[in-house]
């Protein structure tokens, strides 16, 4: 079709957005396509690169990718290239026509992009900064003969194709949770029998964990397959052994084909199973044993080189029983790149752009190990209060729209700041409600003691209250919502509760906590749904007792390093 159209001489031209309906000559090149006569976007003689943006914001693909694109544009310009930006999102900095040498305000479909590539004849196209949007069309671009700069298409496929990626891991002797790929219900059940429950199930090729779920038994799996087949058409379903209670680690790194630069190792505060985009995380990874940390770094280096990454790579790991497992590797800019850059002072997207355009890491004078004079905590911000009726439990499906960062000289103080910035200021006194699943009761007793020491009154569901009382922690029992009035939901609604720690497990319990979470949302009190989150919160409340507010600016934290690069 495309060939036919071009054969007939039907090609678009580009018109400038010039504020004055062509009455005066425009100097800022900002273009849109149309099928008309005069082409106002006349190609310059300069060496150019095209950077593809991330399109409309959505959950799983937001401002972080715009940040990376803008850095890629600024760096390409610094290196002497004509940087051409393509995006269709009017809210972003990348579509500010002052940022790039040329801006094409166009849909990010293969056809629209091929048209403007033809008009510009660039040295190549950079697809790794705009999230899934440019990656979706990268293959088509390559097939049409457009050079992809940075990590080649085959390396992307190598990381995304389960079979091929499994081979890479085997070769490098890196562990991963057992998995399988099912194209039918029977196949899925067979795989489940082989690797056992709980399972993390999802359709192939999605960003932001859409339609991803943890299933605990065959019934759950059956129900999921019925829903998921709809969500994923004829694409297969991926099944992974879910490592319950594992600690999750995220790494952002840059590879130039010879060397790997590790931007940061981030430790998630929530356990595995909460989507990495929804989990709070901390730099440095303060409670990972040094030996495992070294292993994570070594794996990152081996994987980036083996996959053939040129540019950014993000790898997610899980640590369970002192063993490191690779969960996934994404050879592209990730949503944590800006957070890492601000935490360490090394602008990773800029470093990656230099690498993509041919520079070597060894020539860049990067700090060998980013210094961490401070702790930075990134916390996700969730949209539940604006979507009435939403279930607020976190899971493998990403739900957050934004993020905040807290900086402090200790982890608990940074966590407290991040919570405050996310609009969930932790209480320093009052009444705490606890409803803890059986597996977490030992830990709950310890937290209960600390809360009592801080002067909190504790109310709890009968089972939790009993466990606390048995261990000598005074706790007043209160009825669950399903046990009838007067119940905890009413107490929350009338303001008698200042904070909630509620850790559901399994599908039934999760549904049970729905009313509690809705009530906390309505009253705006913090509702913590994981034990790891509760542990961090209690430490943070302890830290909040210290007087005075310490503020830090990035210039004093990172010196001039960030400004020069």
């Amino acid at each position: 079709m495309r060939g036919y159209r071009i054969g007939k001489g039907v090609t678009p031209v580009y018109k400038a957005v010039d504020t004055c309906a062509a009455e005066f000559e425009a100097e800022t090149p900002y273009f849109y396509s149309c099928y008309d006569r005069e082409n106002e976007a006349v190609r310059s003689g300069r060496d150019k690169v095209i950077i593809l943006g991330s399109g409309p914001n959505r959950i799983g693909q937001g401002i972080e990718f715009d940040y990376c694109c803008v850095h890629a544009v600024m760096t390409s310009r610094e290196m002497g290239y004509e940087a051409i930006m393509v995006n269709c999102n009017p809210e972003t900095v990348s579509t500010d026509y002052n940022i790039s040498d040329r801006l094409y305000f166009e849909p990010l479909t293969l056809e629209d992009v091929l048209n403007l590539v033809e008009n510009e004849q660039p040295r190549g196209v950079i697809v790794q900064f705009g999230g899934q949007t440019p990656l979706k069309i990268a293959e088509g671009l390559e097939q049409a003969g457009v050079p992809i700069l940075g990590t080649p298409q085959d390396a992307i496929d190598l990381a995304e194709d389960r079979g091929r990626f499994g081979e890479v891991l085997r070769k490098l002797e890196i562990a991963h949770p057992p998995y399988g790929t099912a194209r039918s219900r029977d196949e899925a059940l067979k795989i489940a029998a082989r690797i056992g429950y709980p399972l993390l199930v999802r359709p192939s090729y999605v960003l932001g964990g859409r339609a991803m779920e943890i299933v605990y038994n065959r019934e759950d799996l059956d129900r999921y397959i019925q829903d998921a087949v709809q969500a994923s058409h004829e694409h297969p379903i991926l099944l992974d052994k879910f490592l319950e209670d594992a600690m999750e680690i995220d790494v952002d790194a840059v590879c130039d084909g010879e060397q790997v630069y590790i931007g940061a190792v981030m430790q998630h505060i929530e356990e595995a199973g909460v989507h990495s985009g929804d989990s709070a995380c901390v730099i440095p990874a303060y409670s990972v044993p040094e030996e495992l940390l070294q292993q994570v770094k070594q794996h990152t280096q081996d994987l980036a080189l083996e996959l053939g990454v040129i540019g950014l790579i993000n790898i997610q790991y899980a640590i369970k029983d002192d063993e490191v497992f690779v969960l996934e590797a994404n050879p592209r800019g990730s949503r944590t790149v800006p957070y890492v850059s601000k935490s360490t002072g090394v602008p990773l997207a800029k470093v990656a752009t230099r690498v993509i355009l041919g520079e070597k890491l060894s020539s860049m004078d990067l700090p060998s190990e980013p210094a961490h004079p401070h702790f930075t905590v990134k916390e996700a911000v969730l949209p539940f209060s604006r979507l009435p009726g939403a279930d607020t439990t976190l899971g493998p499906e990403m739900k957050s729209t934004g993020e905040v960062m807290g900086i402090a000289t200790s982890f608990p103080a940074a966590f407290a700041k991040a919570q405050g910035a996310a609009g969930q200021t932790l209480p320093t006194s009052g009444t705490m409600f606890m409803s803890i699943c059986d597996a977490d009761k030992t830990q709950a007793v310890e937290l209960g003691k600390r809360l009592r020491d801080l002067g909190f009154r504790i109310v709890a569901t009968s089972g939790t209250a009993e466990a606390l009382e048995e261990a000598g922690v005074p706790a007043d029992p209160v009825r669950k919502f399903t046990e009838g009035k007067p119940h905890v939901v009413d107490m929350i609604l009338v303001g008698k509760i200042d904070g909630v720690i509620n850790t559901p497990r399994g599908r039934g319990a999760r549904a049970d906590g729905y009313e509690i979470r809705r009530a906390t949302l309505r009253t705006g009190i913090p509702c913590i749904t994981t034990m790891a989150g509760a542990e961090a919160a209690v430490s943070a409340i302890e830290a909040m007792g210290e007087p005075g507010i310490q503020t830090h600016n990035l210039q004093e934290l990172h010196g001039n390093h960030t400004r020069s690069s």
Partner: protein, 477 residues
């Protein structure tokens, strides 16, 4: 009037995390403002808790604080940095609210920090409903009939003077958060209750419904010499009742007569002067009754907004950048237009193309959430497309959505006609399907109150589609 020399250090507040109703448009506006102020030789102290923004890159400010946006923290930063001025109009509602709180807590007076861009009184007049209504009355315009309530009981008493349907809007919230439209007494009570708790001051506005009226927005800028320009007009294809952030919008307005447009223009000039936004940009929203042509003023944002980001991209006129220059003393005639570099910013932009913006929702992520669109914004992003005609821009915008959910088009015609009477994310896909099935434009208009001009354009798109359907390329040789 040249740049002010009595201030050297300016604090800028960002909009914090991306939330529904406040997205990266404020990274765009804040980044522009930071760049301009640095260029002008000011020291810039930036506070924003969101690390994913470009503006918090250390190169965009003299001092960058990634810290919580609350009174205690920002007070500590003010105490440490001692800025001369605070510019609160580029960080959305978050920055405007925080500036108000800092003023009310006495922090700005204690450290002698001046509010620039919009002063405290102007912010109050634009944001406090009663003050706003009085201001609009004074210039001979009107807002929808309304009253305030602080409880369900009080609201029910006020109901005697108002008739359902009624729009409930909580005071001082983002994206209409916590509000809604009530058609009966039950929903009225429950929405009022939610609204009272969502409002930081526990107050809701009960408002005459102008649902079905056409909605227009004008982007206006004023300088301290009282020059005013209209940057752009924007028309919401979805009539009143859908939040503008959830509406498909078009720039410039397509269905106004010149007389109607001039009336909105004149009204906008009067409003920005009466509210007293001394320098900078404002977004003013109007509802126009399609039958009587009566105009009511819906609201005014005395700051840059999502719509101003759209207007900037739609026209090439950088509102945030110019607002920052105006805030430090320049006048519109002194600021060059950076596209032409020949004309000053007091030349109103002219556009010879059409721009369409389409929202992007995420309902597939939240299965229990009610996917009906109301006055309470639910979209998480948007795209914009430019074309020579409305049809071209609209179709480009549709394909920019990158939807990964397919519509179920097996529904019956009657069912679909009923479905489009309630605004939803699928509304336009349903309208197109109905047109494919030969449904009369008048029936669609009756169900949706969408202006028939737009429906006529859609009908032409479908007519062309149907002429092509089933043909082979060879048929054209």
């Amino acid at each position: 009037m040249p740049r002010r020399t009595d201030i050297e250090k300016i604090m800028l507040i960002g909009s914090g995390p991306i939330v529904i109703g406040q997205a990266c448009e404020f990274d765009y506006s804040g980044t522009q403002a930071c760049q301009v102020l640095l260029e002008e030789g000011f020291e810039v102290v930036l506070v924003n808790s969101n690390p994913a923004t470009i503006m918090t890159d250390p190169a965009f400010a003299t001092r960058t604080y990634v810290e919580p946006l609350d009174v205690p923290t920002v007070s500590a930063i003010i105490e440490r940095e001692r800025p001369d001025a605070l510019l609160p109009t580029l960080g959305g509602q978050t920055a405007l609210n925080l500036a108000t709180e800092l003023k009310e807590a006495g922090v700005l007076d204690r450290y002698e920090v001046q509010l620039i861009g919009a002063d405290y009184d102007a912010i109050q007049r634009a944001e406090e409903r009663e003050l706003f209504r009085d201001a609009i009355d004074r210039i001979g315009l009107r807002v929808p009939r309304s009253d305030l309530a602080k409880s369900v009981k009080e609201a029910c008493q006020k109901l005697e003077k108002l008739t359902l349907p009624i729009i409930i809007r909580p005071s001082f919230t983002l994206g209409g958060h916590g509000g809604g439209v009530a058609h009966d007494l039950d929903s009225f009570c429950s929405i009022v209750e939610d609204g009272v708790s969502a409002s930081p001051i526990g107050q809701v506005l009960l408002e005459e419904s102008v649902m079905g009226w056409q909605e227009f927005e004008l982007e206006v800028m004023r300088d301290r010499a009282d020059n005013v320009v209209i940057v752009c007009s924007i028309e919401n294809i979805d009539p009143m009742g859908v939040h503008t952030g959830d509406s498909i919008t078009v720039a410039p307005a397509q269905t106004l007569t010149d007389v109607q447009y001039q009336r909105l223009r004149d009204a906008s000039l009067d409003i920005i002067r009466e509210i007293g936004v001394e320098t900078g940009g404002s977004n003013i929203q109007f509802a126009v009754n399609p039958d009587t042509e009566e105009i009511v003023v819906i609201e005014m944002n005395p700051r840059v907004s999502r719509s101003s980001a759209l207007a900037s991209k739609a026209t090439g006129f950088p509102i945030a950048k110019i607002a920052a220059r105006l805030a430090v003393g320049y006048t519109l005639d002194e600021i060059p237009n950076d596209i032409t570099r020949k004309t000053p910013a007091c030349f109103e932009p002219t556009i010879d193309y059409v721009v369409v913006k389409t929202p992007r929702w995420a309902f597939e992520k939240f299965p229990r959430v009610d996917a009906v669109l109301t006055t309470h914004m639910k979209s998480v992003g948007e795209n914009m497309a430019v074309g020579r005609t409305f049809k071209e821009a609209f179709m480009k915008s549709m394909r920019s959505r990158e939807l990964d959910v397919e519509m179920d088009d097996a529904a019956g015609t009657e069912e679909m006609l009923a479905a489009i009477s309630t605004p939803s994310a699928e509304r336009y896909d349903l309208i197109f399907e109905l047109l494919r099935r030969g449904t009369d434009v008048a029936d669609i208009e009756a169900a949706t109150s969408i202006n028939p001009w737009f429906l006529g354009e859609f009908e032409q798109i479908i007519a062309r589609e149907q002429r092509l359907r089933g043909r082979q390329l060879a048929d054209y040789d």
